[in-house]
Amino acid sequence: MLKIYQGPLPVSELLSEWYGAHYNENYGAMVNFVGTIREEGGIDALSFDIYLPVLERWFDGWKAKLESKGALLMMAHSEGDVPVHTSSFACAIFSPKRRVALEMLDAFVEDFKANAPIWKYDVRGGERIYAADRSTPMRGSGLLAE
């Protein structure tokens, strides 16, 4: 399950909803990652653009990979402005085995940072500035420069 929110995520509700939906399906482990906007460099907020059709395919690929290991994956992300000290990313993995849960959480979050089609902007005094210095070219970048 992939959910997009306009603005900050309702983190407690999401974690409670995910746990409540799957606690009784005989998964031995649930792991979560929650990303929260840090106050740094004088920003008021971060802002996000998402290209949903490609995000959905990327997410479905991970979902299938986890299903092949008997595990479940769900995530939520914000679109638009997310003020400092609120959260823009949350995910959960349910797995029968703790090793799968721990290893897949790490791999999923790292691939998310590198390949999910989401663009980040600093919001400072009403201006929206692309966070070029913190962004990573997606796998396969440069094809049209060859």
Binding site: Y51, V54, F112, I118, S135, T136, P137, M138, S141, L144
Partner: protein, 73 residues
């Protein structure tokens, strides 16, 4: 004709290009300096599927998307 769209911070309106492969698209985009500077760092999707070959054949009405460097989370 294929439609080329520029996602996220590239901030350009879509353009229509006469192209049979991604190599044709690349040739046209390199002529626009505003866009050319993004090519090195951008990935490419055709009809929302990521593509890794310049030989990828295009047909009339296909949608080509340029995806610049990302940073979710």
């Amino acid at each position: 004709m294929v439609k080329v769209e520029f996602l996220g911070p590239i901030g350009k309106a879509p353009v229509e290009i006469d192209a049979r492969t991604l190599a044709d698209v690349a040739k046209v985009l390199k002529e626009d300096p505003e866009i050319a500077k993004w090519l090195e760092q951008s990935a490419v999707a055709v009809n929302d599927t990521m593509v890794n070959s310049l030989d990828f054949p295009l047909k009339d009405g296909d949608r080509v998307s340029l995806l610049p460097p990302v940073c979710g989370g």
